[in-house]
Symmetry: C2
Subunit: 847 residues, 2 copies
């Protein structure tokens, strides 16, 4: 049978036609090393097109490939696809080993070395090429007897002796690696890492530099920064008498690289080679424009460079490396900005579970607020507060959280809930507080009475047990695990300043409290894009006044209760304006349904009846009368503002009086007042008229020349469709994409968590639309709204203030839609700043 001869290969020389596209990243990298005069052994690249042909065809004839490698060559084969992150089949070493070469090697370096090399080749060939059962070949000592046994086993299983022809061996290896690349599981794995469907594999065949033998021989890896911190540090291992990447596995026998008091080092045993490595490191960094990890071999004292690859790195190391490269003039600043993935920044803002530590995961859920926290389990907000009072960190575990849990959340180090999605109460508040949080941990059964937590596989956790919440990955771990501290260092600040210099869409923060506002400032948000005022009414004594307001029987009684809330609200706003120092502050008027402020339990009702001095039956009746079938779609937002005008009047007065006071103190401020849940223009008109008259009265009384901007939160599909009308009475529109998504899909974020992950996995929805903006549906409404609003009023400010404001893909959409700014929770502000910069730089590239 005539075999197709393998001819489409190229020896890698400084001038050979090698590209990443045709031959893969490794072939190109090796060519660069060769161009830099690094001592790379002879290497031949097989193109991706050829590899695909090999995968689809019969066994090729590889004789010609081996011709340039001299007589009886030993070679390695390594994968070389377009992007190193996509993975690929493992390297095969020592191809060409056979009985004859074994004898020659034994004569040259001794039987032990020769047998060890041959046995390892037989094993890996049997397992990876012939696909025999690994159990038959693994874990035996390199003895002549074991070698014979392995060869015998191979013959027995395959019905032919172990192949002795190096060209046949190479051909089988190439076909095996080519086919491994095409397997379904490999394809799925690399596609999960972002590879396209037709991603191709190149291969490189390299002359083996034997790390075994006489004189100083061995192999090692070296890199010049720490993978976790990104700080300069010579890191790596050198293992005498070894081959391949053995040195990467920390072992007792490995040598340090630089002189080290703890033991022998490469610098000690072969100072010239060490000096050369350092030099090569500098050359590589400057010319490959990246921190590289270099794989090298010493062959009887001679240094060979086999391979080099980007240093693996944590997110924080990634930031520091990129900034250092730019500071050293190796890459431009824009490139440094582009090299850091925006989402990776959130790791830097929070404590993280040390990735080097083992993880005992007892349940997975949705990582709703990033960062890691550990503490004792508590099941109630009261317990959380008690624990905080004792100075003991705790994790609040709830079926789901409600506004009453806010104090408990403040007191806890982290939160874990059985229910909820990315925009459930726990998730939103968790992100707001920067509190690590896992929601939708469906695998749990909570028994609040027994104070236990049961997992599906029967593990039981009790109140007081220590757990760790990894809100970044959505994993709850048993016990304590080492944590890494946040990394808001110079490199971080520098990178984001560079990002700010290029981005062209504003980034504000959603901030409800002075603490949020401080955080927003520290992350350099350009203002507050959404200040929800309702949280203010849950604090301290305010709740009871709020409830008195709700129970008022007349407009006068209601106004009297609100008059007591007025100074508190005013003080809130003064504090916010002071912190934001003239930056814009967009305050949303009261939004939630009133029943959220009422107790739902029997005890709570009883207490309330006592506090209000009313009969329990009256209180119960009122609470029942306020309850709703679908609170999301009920009496809230502007509907409440119109039905009980006293509430918005009080809030407008508090905002404008605060602005007047701050103005007198020397900070000019133009407060932005935003109306929630609008669905018709007339709602805006009515509220505007009232606020205008309040503003006029305050202007007259204080003498401050007060101005304000009125805007609308676009949360209903109808508001988006009617944005043209609405814009006639608004200075700005801010798309509240959480609610807009709920209404466009007819999907409550609180209730959707039960099936959302199944829906996304089954591909019913491509993504969780509460996580990444649904461009096709919600996005179209946003575009319609933006276009109509701008047509009606070209100077209108347009923004997004939902959770999507911090999501890079969604920011891209907002920028394309011509929005002026996005607003997101403070902890997502850095991500948004960087993502916005990426968009500009990517469009420069594209353009």
């Amino acid at each position: 049978m005539q075999r197709r001869e393998l001819t489409a290969f190229t020896e890698i020389t400084p001038v050979a036609p090698i590209t990443v596209k045709t031959h893969g990243w490794r072939a190109k990298c090796l060519q660069r090393l060769i161009r830099l005069d690094l001592p790379v052994p002879r290497t031949v690249a097989i193109s991706a097109a050829e590899v695909r042909a090999i995968a689809q065809g019969q066994l090729p004839d590889a004789r010609s490939v081996l011709e340039g490698f001299g007589p009886s060559p030993l070679v390695s084969v390594r994968p070389s696809c377009e992007n190193p992150d996509w993975g690929g089949p493992g390297t095969m070493l020592n191809i060409g080993m056979n009985d004859e070469r074994h004898a020659a090697l034994a004569a040259e370096h001794g039987a032990e070395v020769a047998t060890s090399v041959y046995l390892r080749f037989v094993r890996s060939y049997a397992i990876h090429v012939a696909r025999l059962d690994p159990d038959m070949f693994e874990g035996t000592e390199p003895s002549a007897e074991n070698l014979r046994a392995a060869l015998r086993a191979y013959a027995l299983e395959t019905d032919e002796p172990f192949p002795q022809d190096p060209a046949r061996q190479l051909a089988e290896v190439l076909r095996s690696m080519a086919r491994a690349w095409e397997s379904t599981s490999a394809r799925l794995l690399r596609q999960a890492k972002g590879a396209p469907e037709n991603a191709a594999l190149g291969l490189v065949v390299q002359k083996m530099a034997q790390g075994v033998g006489q004189g100083e021989s061995g192999c090692g890896v070296i890199q010049f920064v720490d993978s976790v911190s990104g700080l300069p540090q010579i890191t790596g291992r050198y293992l005498r008498q070894s081959q391949g990447r053995d040195a990467l596995v920390p072992g007792d026998e490995a040598l340090y690289l630089a002189c080290d008091p703890r033991g022998p080092s490469l610098e000690d045993v072969c100072p010239d080679a060490y000096t050369d490595l350092l030099r090569y490191g500098v050359v590589c960094r400057a010319n490959l424009r990246e921190e590289m990890q270099i794989e090298f071999t010493l062959e009887n004292g001679n240094l060979c460079i086999l391979d080099a690859a980007k240093v693996a790195r944590s997110s924080r190391a990634g930031v520091r490396i990129a900034v250092a490269l730019a500071n050293d003039g190796i890459i431009p600043r824009d490139e440094a900005v582009l090299r850091v993935e925006p989402r990776a920044l959130s790791e830097l803002l929070h404590r993280q579970v040390d990735p080097r530590r083992p993880r005992d995961i007892f349940v997975r859920g949705i990582g709703a607020s990033p960062g890691a926290a550990q503490g004792r389990i508590v099941f109630t907000s009261d317990a959380a507060q008690a624990s905080a009072a004792r100075g003991e960190p705790c994790i609040l575990v709830r079926r789901e959280t409600a506004p009453e849990d806010i104090r408990g959340m403040h007191a806890a180090a982290g939160v874990l809930t059985e229910r909820g999605g990315m925009t459930s109460h726990a998730a939103v508040i968790g992100r707001g507080l920067g509190l690590p949080c896992i929601v939708g941990a469906n695998g749990l059964t909570l028994d609040p009475r027994e104070r236990t937590l049961r997992t599906r596989d029967g593990r039981v956790f009790r109140e007081g047990d220590v757990i760790t919440v990894d809100g970044t990955r959505g994993e709850a771990l048993a016990g304590e695990v080492d944590l890494l501290e946040p990394a808001l260092d110079d490199a971080f600040t520098t990178l984001l300043d560079w990002a700010d210099a290029v981005r062209d869409i504003g980034v504000r923060a959603n901030a409800d409290t002075p603490a949020d506002a401080q955080l927003a400032r520290s992350f350099k948000a350009e203002g507050i894009g959404l200040c929800r005022t309702e949280h203010m009414f849950f604090e301290g004594d305010r709740l009871i006044v709020m409830r008195e307001m709700i129970f008022a029987d007349s407009s006068e009684e209601r106004a009297a209760a609100l008059a007591r809330l007025l100074p508190m609200q005013r003080a809130d706003f003064i504090r916010l304006f002071e912190i934001m120092q003239g930056l814009p502050v967009c305050i949303r008027l009261f939004d939630p349904p009133l029943h959220e402020f009422l107790p739902q339990t029997r005890d709570g009702l009883h207490e309330l009846a006592e506090a209000l001095d009313k009969p329990l039956s009256d209180v119960t009746r009122r609470v029942e009368a306020l309850s709703e079938f679908n609170p999301m779609l009920g009496m809230r937002g502007v509907r409440l503002g119109i039905a009980l005008p006293e509430i918005y009047e009080m809030q407008a007065r508090a905002i404008l009086e605060a602005a007047a006071e701050v103005a007198r103190a020397g900070y000019p401020v133009v407060p932005e007042i935003m109306i929630p849940l609008v669905s018709a223009m007339r709602e805006v008109e009515l509220v505007k008229t009232r606020i205008d008259s309040i503003a006029a009265a305050i202007r007259t009384r204080t003498g401050v020349n007060l101005t304000y901007r009125l805007g609308v939160m676009v949360e209903t599909p109808r508001a988006a469709l009617r944005a043209g009308d609405i814009a006639q009475h608004a200075s700005f529109l801010s798309f509240g994409t959480n609610d807009l998504t709920q209404m466009t899909y007819g999907l409550s974020r609180d209730d959707a968590s039960r099936f959302m992950s199944a829906y996304v996995q089954a591909g019913v929805f491509q993504e969780d639309p509460f996580h990444t903006l649904d461009v096709d549906g919600v996005g179209e409404l946003l575009l319609i709204g933006a276009r109509r609003a701008r047509r009606a009023r070209p100077d209108l400010t347009l923004a997004v203030c939902g959770e999507h404001g911090g999501d890079p893909e969604s920011i891209a959409f907002c920028r394309a839609a011509g929005l002026d700014y996005v607003s997101c929770s403070p902890y997502r502000v850095p991500v948004a700043r960087l993502a916005a910069a990426h968009l500009v730089l990517a469009s420069l590239h594209a353009g």
Copy 2:
């Protein structure tokens, strides 16, 4: 002071340039009577433009108007605006009466007659023209003394003697009537009746035909049909020695018109006049193309025709009159169709409170399901069933109804609820059952424990008290009131057949049960546009099987419970297909959240635990776990269908097996299967694949060449936006405008009733969008969806199946949007058929 002379008046002659636009309907009608040679006294028409000038100017000089009326004329002035329904100021009689005319009249007809005429003129002039206090002038006997007193009072109040100059009197009357027309209250009143803002008033001045004096004198009205039934019948009164419309008020002294055993008649006393009147009636009907009421006077035996106007009529009379005119060849059929207001038909379908009876209204609400019913108050469904079992009609009074109340609603004669809107449970079911229903009766306080009903003004009704529910007007009346029976007679059927002959949009019925389907057939619906299957699971023993299904712990258990429901569902569908005899039947797959099938009360949970033989705690936990924050936006519709595929599989099997069985029996049927709550194409794809394989299996097993059509209910804004994608997997789309409205506005129909009427009154919303389709928002989504779906698949069927399907304005929108049919509750089918015909006829007129 020189007065502007009034010159713009026209004597009404057969050839005078009189139009409805310039001189009003009455002037035009009088001209028609004159052209028909009816003996109309000399009449002069003053144009609307002139009347407006009079209203805005000084007192005109009316001398020239009176010139043609001979010496010392007495005249009347009547309003004549464009449309008789708009109202206008009252008629003034006997203008020209003064001391001199009084003396002459006394000489001619005796002092009593003369004084009576003069005194009445002085009174009405004082009250309506000089605007003096009515108390000073009303209710005195016509004596010389009282006349003197009235003249004295006039002089005292106005500081001038009663005007003696007829021209001055006429000028004052004209100006007074012109100004009355322009008053704000008159304007609001007529705008409420549909008049445009600039509606103008013409006036007619007519020589008085004295109904008093020697010989046979008097006045009367006659019409030739009964106003309530529309059946031919000579109706009216004749009052001797009277003027104006006195005869209209039934009085003991009035004569019958035709010979009557009960007393004297006009036919007896003046047979010639009576014969003439009959002749005039025939002439008027044929030439004015309408049933007219004629006002006449006998003056010494001479018949004068003073005025004629359309006979006032009930809706049922309107239908019979229109059909009779067309059958007699007087008007074309299309005009008969156009003359009946579609909404008016609903009165004919139900029993009505007799409009001639006094109404003791104790509370008003929303008339959610038309018709009248009376019975004893019951507060629970059990009591309703017990009452029905005793054969006693009852009215079910609830805070709101829930699915558990369906049996009670079946048993009740009518329903009254404190809460809810046009599309609340009670309203929808009420309309479905044809059960008179009032919802949102906010003025009630229900005490189910005390079994009392308290109104705001303190009236208390107890269980057992008889009340009447007027679901047409939304009024609850105390006690029994006479009711009129439905009028589904020949005229009704004929008119709708004529309507069907012209309309070009289909009308189907929403029908869930065999009874609904029968009703749909009897109203000639062209098929079932929406059969909701979930109601089927509440019936009889099914609920407990349904609950077993919900509590199933595995797919197998679930399938086993569903297998028990399968034959019941199949039987339901067989029955429906049989009734519909090959007409299309569109069946919506299961839609509501599962928790709707579970008990909410402690007792209910207890019973359920016993029935399922499970611990109460397990049952409670499952019920809690299924509860949702916003059920409307939760786990329902296709989401449930995908999460628990067994439910849709069972339903698809039941539908297709039923179709196969009916096909074998000789009725070919192509069932339409509709998927609810879709928001993404993939949902449709998944369900379609499953149903296709079920259909294939049934085809194989039964040998019946079964086909079916799969469609999507468009209820989410996203489904409308993505209709192009969705259409690729659907044969039809049906817009569920109830839910689409809820989601577009972000407004729950159940919760909105609390503020909807206030919102509409304040003009925040122009109409209740659950009642009339919101063209600007929901309508735009509907248009977008229709356009995209048709572009993707031109042969697609498009429909609307929400409550709006029965609303005439909404039907107009659907027709303009190119939809193929609308579907509405059976009782609205006739309204929709007629409204659809009107649209075609109106567009023919316009085109």
